[in-house]
Symmetry: C3
Subunit: 425 residues, 3 copies
Amino acid sequence: MYKWMKDLFPVCRSLTGSGVDETLNYLKNTIGIKFKILKFKSGKKVFDWTVPKVWNIKDGYIKTIKGKKIINFKNNNLHVVGYSTPINKIVSKQELLKHVFTQPDQPKWIPYVTSYYKKNWGFCISENFKKKIKDKKYKVYIDSSHKNGNLKIAETFIKGEKNKEIFFSTYFCHPSMASDNLSAVIVQSALIKYINENYKKTKFSYRFIFIPETVGSIAYLSKNLLNLKKNMVAGFNLSCVGDDRCYSHVESRNGNNLADQALEVALLGKKNKKRYSFLHRGSDERQYCAPGIDLPVCGFSRSKFGEYKEYHTSADNLDITSEKSLQNSLSILISIVDAFESELTPITKIKGEPQLSKYNLYPTTSQKGTKKKGSFSKQEFINRCNVIAYSDGKKNIFEISKITNIPLKDLIKEIKILKENKILR
Amino acid sequence: MYKWMKDLFPVCRSLTGSGVDETLNYLKNTIGIKFKILKFKSGKKVFDWTVPKVWNIKDGYIKTIKGKKIINFKNNNLHVVGYSTPINKIVSKQELLKHVFTQPDQPKWIPYVTSYYKKNWGFCISENFKKKIKDKKYKVYIDSSHKNGNLKIAETFIKGEKNKEIFFSTYFCHPSMASDNLSAVIVQSALIKYINENYKKTKFSYRFIFIPETVGSIAYLSKNLLNLKKNMVAGFNLSCVGDDRCYSHVESRNGNNLADQALEVALLGKKNKKRYSFLHRGSDERQYCAPGIDLPVCGFSRSKFGEYKEYHTSADNLDITSEKSLQNSLSILISIVDAFESELTPITKIKGEPQLSKYNLYPTTSQKGTKKKGSFSKQEFINRCNVIAYSDGKKNIFEISKITNIPLKDLIKEIKILKENKILR
Amino acid sequence: MYKWMKDLFPVCRSLTGSGVDETLNYLKNTIGIKFKILKFKSGKKVFDWTVPKVWNIKDGYIKTIKGKKIINFKNNNLHVVGYSTPINKIVSKQELLKHVFTQPDQPKWIPYVTSYYKKNWGFCISENFKKKIKDKKYKVYIDSSHKNGNLKIAETFIKGEKNKEIFFSTYFCHPSMASDNLSAVIVQSALIKYINENYKKTKFSYRFIFIPETVGSIAYLSKNLLNLKKNMVAGFNLSCVGDDRCYSHVESRNGNNLADQALEVALLGKKNKKRYSFLHRGSDERQYCAPGIDLPVCGFSRSKFGEYKEYHTSADNLDITSEKSLQNSLSILISIVDAFESELTPITKIKGEPQLSKYNLYPTTSQKGTKKKGSFSKQEFINRCNVIAYSDGKKNIFEISKITNIPLKDLIKEIKILKENKILR
């Protein structure tokens, strides 16, 4: 995955435009993800919002009057404010400074700034560089365009035996930042590959969307809400899954829907995990859980948006992520998928406890304190009894995991054994 | 309000009698409260109770044989036991002491003692003074009467657009004590004035009763229970709201009805607040929440009955209260009324998040960490988003305040803005 | 009870066999318990299990070649593995050690080991003794038999006014160990005697079963599940009630059914009490709460199985129990029975608070801080008011005890007074 990160990192993505196309083409051609593209025309009303024009940018710089480029979009695409209007002008230092954004508390880093819905031009530079702006005049140049066109959403749907579906959403609209949010675009792609490669036919259907944040989810919901309400059993918004410092769960508004339950136990045993209430939302869970929408979606992040120092700056680069951290993120999602594909609500076939020794699943000699119980460890044996005891057809696999403290992977394995022995249905 | 306190403090109130009439006349003529008087005849059965006779007292003293008045009711009306029978007799020191009540652990103060339902005569004096009773004989004189008449309840009803009503109850039966309970008679009166002066027509109806404690609420309920059960959405029993040491919430038996929810968040941010379970009840919430009654009533106090040292003694005087403390009590009740009059269960008109920038309610440029978001503070902006996110038509304004930690006053203001912008219905 | 303990301690009990008959005969003839015997034939399928053959043992020893008995079943019936096959053979030291069980971490004690469902022979000895086994050959002798016959369950049913029943279950299948589980056989018997001697006719019906653990409860359930589902309102599995070190509550799977509520408050005020979730189950609550069974049963123990050092060893002998500890266990169960026989769901007859002074149940003079309220203590008076306030016909006696913190015995007494005064129905 790190290779894909490196390839896609330099692309200048935004809500719309050629950077989006380039990114989606890479997912399709290099990673091998199949999806269909949904298009929403500029100016179209979607709920309370309006689809913006397509923004493209070819170049952008600040030059001294002597012709020296001191700031160059081609060096770092954060240098130009997202959706900046074009400009080509000699401006006074004073006027330039009105259009320059810095992050004064992080003076070495370039901040990420957008102005999607108010026309403005601007440059983002480090606070340290700003202090060097001392000439009376500068030439500013931004070669950008805002044209009617399409906002694009890529959607992959894996049809399972049931129409009931598990939903994943992530956003591709951020330019060159690694954890926020190229990491989640990559990890979501890897999850699609995992399912395709490991399941011939899934029980549940799986839906994945790659969207521009906020207006993208609004547009998508405006068209698909009824179907999602009907079929979605759990959904996950993926955001900032690139670093390895912690695991974060942003609760749905409900706080304990099936997605919350799933993510909670998928993080069982992780040391540095953080759970945020919906009050600390910030990505598209805002839309999925809004009143009137109320889909069972929670948010999954590693260091959460707004909670790590490199967030929304040029320091959120490839250095803060790694193949290992991406694999760790992916493995959480895989355990959730595997759990849904195991048995969502296990139920015993037997009244009372089964006579496990008949199945060679129980020690034949009973004595206290022994670590090994026949061919399996004492913990394995306790887990087995607990899985049976709580498989009452009312608790789902995530609730059973939580009650019994059995990690999802072990629980999935045990359910498989018990089903093979016809102890569970 | 403190002026009214001073005027009414000296009046000798009891369950019944001329002190009650004098107090109610003052509320009507000086403060300007309109009410109707409900009358219950002495001897009438009200649920398990019987309406007592009307008690009046003109004078009362203990004299030495030489004719010196050493205890005089006219100096402090706590000196005679409430509902004391008349007496006019020379008694031995020994007999006198059987009829003398002191508070040995608070030797300077006169205790407040009543004997409503057992015929007895008695004097209340300080423990220190008791030690000076050394003569062999004393003359005791109490000029009181118990006659058939009416127990009186004053009721103010403000008819709103709905029949659903908010209920307030307080008791006037305590003689010269300031926090318990003249303060609540005054604050309840001020609340009536507030509503009349600030609302032309309220959404909810408001009912206020001034009663003698216990037998008064029993009598009132015996006549009005069906109507109260039908229309009351929340009720508050006001008791001991005179001092400024803390804010107390005495839970309903249910513990989390609408009144509890309202009072809980009305106290949001108050530093010295105390929440008592229904096990610590003591005023008329005992009746309103009794089995078979079960009205949604909780109790509001500052230092709660039984929890401040001056309680039920001569030290509960005008010194422990002030205009400021009374205003603080009133402002809690006003915030509750204003919340009911705002929007009890707000609901958004828009699916997904509204595009707040369209309404000039959102910053147009997005950058992390900035304190000001356009013309409003970051906290204002966070509050706005949270009000919208939780206005799902299922949560009431008090629950939203609790979840989002937004004080009622700010929440009411924000709901107003969002309704004006047609974002909330 | 300690006398009964001493009489029955030496008997070699198991799932089946003559030790069971001897024990049940003692309960019947010496203690005077009436019961009927339910029989399940060897080989019969009961749910997932099969009723085992009847095991009897006459003798068992290890002899040196010179003829000295070094281990003798007649000295301690733990020496032979439960359900051991017969053997009569000279074996090498090496082979003998394969059939010898010790508890290495408790080197002085003989462990309790069974092999019910796998044919095997074996001896249990102390780790210290094992070290003395140095000869090349030994003679091993076990005179045991496995024959077709009946697994037996003793059942006592006390018919009350209602068919709704309270259920008690304990197991007799353990050989010479005192707390686990002779103590519970004795205490359950004493409880039957208590009810017979103290109630002419009970309100609820009471059912008591004495069974072999696991297969016994499975067999019993396989025949009586429908009736139990229909009538059982609460059930208690008694296990290890012999010592006096603590009181233990093993929760039902539900965790808060009527039995859990009852046991919780029966232990109110006990200092060393422990509450275990169903994850820490181990006795027949495993069957009663299994999916598909789901009876409202929890477990009562003193030091719980697996939680005291003498558990399942020869050290669980008469020294760790006493008449006092058995009486303490019994008194918990008595308080539960008395509560069921008092008024399960008390309800007031009076709207609002009753005028307690009419009934001489309230002080006639009201003054703060006095310890005595007329003829009763302040705490008695507070308890009285609380019992009335919470007797709303929705809360059961155990919930009222928990909310008000009134011990069951006091609560039962107070309910009696209030019923006599026609304040409670």
